[in-house]
């Protein structure tokens, strides 16, 4: 005990030694700064390589053109007076964001297999800032999905809501949704630690998340048990928010405010868990 106190005092002579206890404002400012530095890193990577963004367009296009057009003609799914392709557009956006975000953990494992994760963890970056920065960068990346889906929707004649506030709302939902599911993916990566196991689990999780949601059919159509599952599935709230923001006259099931609140609370919880698990990925 005495040794430590003495040591801490002696450490003070070096200018590189910071005060052990920073003030609250300083640590919050530091946290924000580090978070942006991590997000900047990921965005810079994207600037060097655009191909990833282009390949991401394929899946939403297939869903729109193949699934969407057939189901629109079939009129098999009651969507309350809205054309099925209009109903589907927000679902496809949410789905394409989910499918990209859910495999985010692969990158985490890749960085761990190299020494990159070690290097970040040895730096004086708060663990929460590392995880949040990565989540934000996944959010920024997923904005391209919104662009792709809007372009496709425009080509197919979906009636979209172009009010600026609604558009901003869509971007916000997409960023939060991507942050949420990419952090979920990070948590799985920290638990399974190998690429093979991760791929297996990723595949197993994606489909239930997708089908137990209102992405391609309304909640009213679901049997009771499935509705119960979809009520705890964050994707449902993401789709609900997107649908009321993207389509002019769609009545939200929960209210956009509730949707946002659920998404943000879920993201904060996951980031807190992620920040605790992330350092263990290198052990």
């Amino acid at each position: 005990m005495r040794l430590q106190e003495e040591g801490a005092r002696r450490g003070g002579w070096d200018s590189a030694t910071p005060a052990t206890r920073l003030s609250l404002t300083a640590s919050v400012a530091g946290f924000v700064k580090k978070t942006f530095a991590i997000a900047e890193l990921e965005v810079r990577k994207l600037r060097h390589d655009f191909t990833e963004l282009i390949t991401r367009a394929a899946q939403p296009a297939l869903w729109f053109v193949l699934f969407g057009e057939v189901m629109t003609r079939a009129r098999a799914i009651p969507t309350g007076g809205v054309a099925y392709r209009d109903f589907l557009a927000p679902g496809i956006l949410a789905q394409s964001v989910l499918f990209v975000a859910i495999f985010y953990g692969i990158g985490i494992i890749w960085e761990r297999d190299l020494g990159i994760t070690n290097k970040f963890l040895v730096s004086p970056t708060p663990r929460g800032a590392l995880v949040l920065g990565k989540a934000l960068s996944a959010g920024v990346r997923s904005l391209s999905q919104a662009l792709i889906v809007y372009t496709l929707a425009l080509l197919l004649g979906v009636k979209l809501n172009w009010r600026p506030l609604a558009l901003l709302g869509v971007l916000a939902v997409v960023v939060v949704g991507a942050a949420l599911f990419s952090t979920f993916s990070l948590i799985i990566a920290c638990l399974v630690k190998t690429r093979e196991r991760f791929m297996g689990i990723g595949q197993v999780l994606t489909m239930p998340l997708f089908f137990a949601s209102n992405a391609i059919y309304p909640l009213d159509l679901m049997p009771g048990w499935l509705r119960a599952i979809s009520a705890v599935n964050p994707l449902t709230y993401e789709v609900d928010a997107l649908r009321s923001l993207m389509i002019g006259d769609w009545q939200s099931s929960f209210g956009v405010g509730v949707d946002f609140a659920v998404l943000i609370v879920a993201t904060v919880v996951l980031i807190t868990v992620g920040a605790r698990l992330y350092p263990r990925v290198v052990v």
Binding site: A8, G30, K34, H48, I116, K119, S123, P124, T125, V283
Partner: protein, 265 residues
Amino acid sequence: MNVLETTALTRRFGKLTAVDALTVAVGPGEAFGLLGPNGAGKTTAIKMLTTLLPPTSGKAFIAGLDVNRHAPAVRRLIGYVPQMVSVDGSLTGYENLLIFAKLYDIPARERGPRLSEALKMVGLTEAADKLVRQYSGGMIRRLEIAQSTLHRPRLLFLDEPTVGLDPLARQAVWNHIERLRADYGTTILLTTHDMEEADQLCDRIAIMHLGKVVVADTPARLKASVGKPGATLGEVFIHYAGDSLESGSSYRETSRGRRTARRLG
């Protein structure tokens, strides 16, 4: 004051004691080598000293700060070059340094000069704007050293710094390590399997075996200690850790090590 001091630092994984009561002291400006066969506990020791892994028991102090209790402060005092590649291939050399300058709170107005100086020191000024993916193994290692020393750490950890490098690239890395010591008085703790490297760089060497330090001394005294005139450091190593041919690393470690060598080579 010692820059690094440990007292009976121990880490167990289940029944295996990876590091067994490690007690070492490294003074300011010293270059200390941690040698030992695969699985001797070197990497586990480094992980504990760099705040990545909490010890099961025992203590470690860096510049007088308890590593376990003051991890955030300790992180500002140390630099770490992991064995595996630790720079990002899809960024340029400059960007790799820039992000770390931000993570280490180097003020914006100092960043420019600090980064140019770092690039110049490791001879990467010309290649600064190339993607690291296009770098050679030697360039990657030099960039990693620059990245880990941007914040002028008191203590630099180098985990097998020249594994997989050709003799020329290896010599260049050695030169940079010597420069760091001469210019900034950086204290160095390095692990290596390269006896020539240990002999050339280290003031003192500890040989670890099955989690314990078997012997620690200057290279000259170690060579004299084995009772054979003109003994090499390699012979010293075999003398102290020689019965471990079968105890070494696992399949996973081996494939990792080879992968590093391939990536850098």
